[in-house]
Point group: C2
Chain length 349, copies 2
Amino acid sequence: MSDTMKPVDPQVMQRIVLARRPQGFPVAQDFRLEETGMPRPAAGEVLVQATYMSLDPYMRGRMDYVKSYTAPQELNHTMGAGGVGRVITSRDPKFSKDDLVFGMFGWASHGCLPGRQLRKLDPALPPSTALGVLGMPGFTAWAGLEVHGRMKPGETLVVAAATGPVGSMVGQLAKQAGLRVVGVAGGPEKCAMAVDTFGFDACIDHRAHNSVLDMMEALHRECPDGVDIYFENVGGHVLGGVLPVMNTHGRIIICGMIAWYSGESCETGDMALQKLWRIALVKRLTVQGLLQTDHVGRFGEFLTKVAPPVTSGEIAYLEDIAEGLENAPEAFFAMLKGGNKGKQIVRIA
Amino acid sequence: MSDTMKPVDPQVMQRIVLARRPQGFPVAQDFRLEETGMPRPAAGEVLVQATYMSLDPYMRGRMDYVKSYTAPQELNHTMGAGGVGRVITSRDPKFSKDDLVFGMFGWASHGCLPGRQLRKLDPALPPSTALGVLGMPGFTAWAGLEVHGRMKPGETLVVAAATGPVGSMVGQLAKQAGLRVVGVAGGPEKCAMAVDTFGFDACIDHRAHNSVLDMMEALHRECPDGVDIYFENVGGHVLGGVLPVMNTHGRIIICGMIAWYSGESCETGDMALQKLWRIALVKRLTVQGLLQTDHVGRFGEFLTKVAPPVTSGEIAYLEDIAEGLENAPEAFFAMLKGGNKGKQIVRIA
């Protein structure tokens, strides 16, 4: 142990709260690291030592005070997040000490939740997979394609944030279903990874094609038969470029729009609502908002189908692991800027 | 016969061609009335005296040279349009002289088409209904709700152009299915008609609520439980107002956008694509482009279900009939400006 590290007090836990609402892109001063007393589980509750926590783009949306699919993040409360950990004390008979569990522990070293809000993990799988490839992002990809994709072999799918945990799963599931899969990612390294690690047919660098027109031309080139499914993770000029390339009866599944979460200007050339409306009408597109919680009843089916190919390596995944709860804000900023390659995780203990 | 009228030459037919592509809103000089020789039906063809022709908003879209779901209207060719008429000469054994038929005769006094492109009409029904309530507009309404509506009793539907042939059918079918139905129409007369003639629960005057915010407030008032289905016929500020009022899992069926057909400015306040995308994601909307030709295999089912209530008067319809082929352009301009109350038809003979 280096002498700059304090010994951990077993009666104290760490957490990070939202200190103020970010103005545009979030900064360190929007957060505050606190120490508080260790919670004591009431009857039915379980105290968990968090080992990994998840960082996800949706968290930026919750920091604004707007009506959304979840309540906004409350000021001076622990930042919400999914995490995995090990049971310290259980007052729910369904859990025992040292069980591996998933729960919404937040940006915190420990969590104390009712047992019914926890999910026991298969100890044969690496616990961090419960935050990415076999967790919410992987399930989002699977449910989006399963419920709204109407995939047919020979069709073409485009997905942005191609090496991220949603995009990489979307692409691999679509490849398995016999589609041509074209990714969009930031920078040559990620694009190579989409092809080499995740088996995409091609990947377009949105930094090298940073206007609507450039993006459209690149998509035309890589999607000679047009685009049947666009899995939307980013918004911005990628959306602008893909719309004119959509095929009749195409499907756009809106899963996120990271480019727009912090109120950046909308770089879509002249392609406004009017143009989208015309394209949607003329091409009879289906544009569908997706939220994985609507389909949570199928999570077991997802695990049954997707855990085996993940275990066998048939479905690949990447994780970026930041070290230490105190580094969560910086890792979050980097993720919003596209600095991560795979699923962004923070190791807590 | 007044002496200003020329006797009709039985060997001559009249037609109106597109003389040039309109710049913005179309004007009389964009069209030309011509006389040509009467066509002679070849084997398998049928010569028809047109009695009524249909005017529809989609015709404006076809006048621009853009890729759309139909080929653009060709210059110096007869303007396309559906019509009904009476068989003069048949060289198809399935048709006889004096049969009433529907076909794409265009803006013309006569049509000569292969018999397989004609549909024989039930002589018990007024022939003009084949252009509106029991024709393409009525079928558009029925197919849109049937295929994409997912209507549930107690839900709320909003439809613009409420007294038009699509909107009035949408509203009446939704009322029959047990929904609250709120129309949007231009002016107090049409709004009263939506409620009194078509049985809507309420109708909002978009001229009296001519900004996004005003429209949104009026919709909030008339749709206290929010909007589950928006049947989109108009675009413009009505769309801007309805989006924030949409309920989770709402459906938007895009059937037209007359407000935008002639390139008018997009009066949607600050509500651009980015805002739509966020609303569609947060509320998990389904936005669906609708074209009735995709569902044409169900036209028979539509007639079987909808002709009886039309005959009985249970489903009401309105027709605006302009007199004479030569007045088709003026009637068309008026329709684009919302001057008609019901289905716009031109009586030709």
